[in-house]
């Protein structure tokens, strides 16, 4: 540290070289997040007859390194909503902060109005869209899942770093959009099919998809968190992928330990 008064707080020239201040009068625009750093992979969500289930694993990767293995990517917001995030984990945690503050603010009037999934989704999508307009995106793909406390009508919506939003009976972010959505759509092709899907079947379906992702998504983890939201509220738990079979790996030539 340079202790001379005029250079206080600056790196010492004799140690670090002359300080390059050219960036201070640069004509370049301010740079913001250009890429995610510590990332989470897929989030899955499926509607069923009296609610919705959402799941995300607990890995946060640093490039291809599985840097953190106990990360919670599902956040309960209020009484009947869960938000699951993929993408940059620091941006996700910042968003969690915003949601916490929002919820606290909404408590003050004590007017018996509560935020539910549509409102939370709407809020998140506005935040993400505003940030993309500032060229400073929150690098996330987010699923918001919830159920109406009175009608138990399930709610499931997606929003990403550009503010693109959409809803469907089954959604997935990241790799899940390629690997899990086709499996999920076989069971719930449309809203009508949601009425025929029981909670048990929905849970089995999500377990199956998480297993497929564990097999084929190299950034996924073996443990994952799940939440089921019905009109009774949120039920949350953690699971490990069971009954694994890596038989198929023997058939893959060229990467493993085979001789040929």
């Amino acid at each position: 540290m340079n202790q001379h008064p005029h250079g206080w707080g600056r790196p010492r020239d004799d140690v670090y070289g002359a300080y390059d201040s050219s960036y201070l009068n640069s004509t370049q625009p301010v740079t913001h997040t250009q890429r995610p750093i510590v990332t989470g992979t897929s989030v899955l969500g499926v509607k069923f007859q009296d609610g919705v289930i959402i799941a995300a694993d607990n890995i946060a990767s640093y490039g291809s390194l599985a840097r953190y293995d106990n990360v919670e990517r599902l956040l309960q917001v209020g009484t009947h909503t869960v938000v699951g995030a993929g993408g940059d984990m620091s941006d996700m945690q910042y968003l969690h902060l915003l949601l916490d503050n929002l919820l606290i603010k909404e408590q003050y009037p004590a007017d018996d109005h509560h935020l539910h999934a549509p409102q939370v989704h709407s809020y998140i999508s506005r935040v993400l869209y505003q940030r993309r307009n500032k060229f400073d995106p929150l690098w996330n793909s987010i699923l918001t899942a919830g159920a109406d406390p009175n009608t138990s009508e399930p709610f499931l919506s997606y929003v990403d770093l550009r503010g693109t939003t959409f809803s469907a009976p089954a959604l997935a972010t990241g790799f899940g959009a390629h690997l899990a959505v086709p499996i999920l759509r076989r069971h719930v092709p449309d809203e009508a099919a949601v009425k025929d899907l029981t909670r048990e079947d929905a849970e089995k379906l999500v377990d199956e998809c998480m297993k497929v992702l564990w097999y084929r998504d190299a950034r996924s983890g073996v443990t994952y968190s799940w939440s089921v939201i019905t009109k009774e509220g949120v039920e949350t738990g953690s699971k490990k992928i069971e009954n694994q079979s890596w038989k198929f790996a023997e058939m893959i030539k060229g990467y493993g330990a085979q001789n040929i």
């Binding site: 670090y16 070289g17 002359a18 390059d20 050219s22 960036y23 640069s26 370049q28 740079t31 997040t33 250009q34 890429r35 869209y129 993309r132 307009n133 060229f135 995106p137 997606y158 550009r162 503010g163 693109t164 939003t165 959409f166 809803s167 469907a168 959009a177 390629h178 959505v181 449309d190 809203e191």
Partner: protein, 268 residues
Amino acid sequence: MASSYLLPHAQHAPHAHPTASSQPRQHHWSPYTENGGVILGIAGKDYVIIAGDTRSSEGYNINTRTARKIFQLGSGIILGVVGMSADGEELARKVARKIDDYKRNHDKHITVSAAAVMLSRTLYQKRFFPYYCQPLLGGLDENGVGAIYTYDYVGSFEREQSRAFGSAAALITPFLDNQINLKNQFVPGSNGEEPRTPGDMPRDLVEKIVKDAFSSAVERQIEVGDGLQMVTVTRAPPRAEEEEATVEDDDEWTGSTISETLSPLKQD
């Protein structure tokens, strides 16, 4: 010294500030994306139709099969948007809000022509960071005649009889030329001298042509399919004598009836 893995630019001039060097950027983020789909608008003598498919995609992924691209903005005005859905929905929200404000400020419904100018200004306000979407505005004009206003990304606009926008616009446009505007068609027996004139087309015929235009586009454009959303504005039936009167009631009276239908398209 830190490993070159952590400091990929260590081999360059030491201590040079990263932003000072003119190195090519490593990764470029685009605020834009494209969600596919197609819309078309047709104006008739006393009706307007805007139709669009309900597929929303990104690259080769289908995001959802049930996304609506046509919005009711209030005061009997409808808006179809294709391109980037986030920008399209933002635009629809913004214009709907302005139409609502207009009614509160002036105590009357905005006309389509005024709304058309307002939409143009709204697009131009973002001239240097445009909304990435092509809007079609529809409604009945002061004479109750159908009006379609078409725009580019930054607000150039004109009133037209029919227009297709989106990823299958090139497929649908010449079909509409031929079947709606009767281009290249001549009165039988006139030896190709007397063109057929596009008179007043009945609404049910136009709706059939619209459906055929979409099912044709679905065959050849992967971004189009799943469902057809058709929104129609017609003149509201004249109110019976006893219904006339109360001020609150008049508040809602736009003279227009908007109806919306959803029908299936192929999903492959």
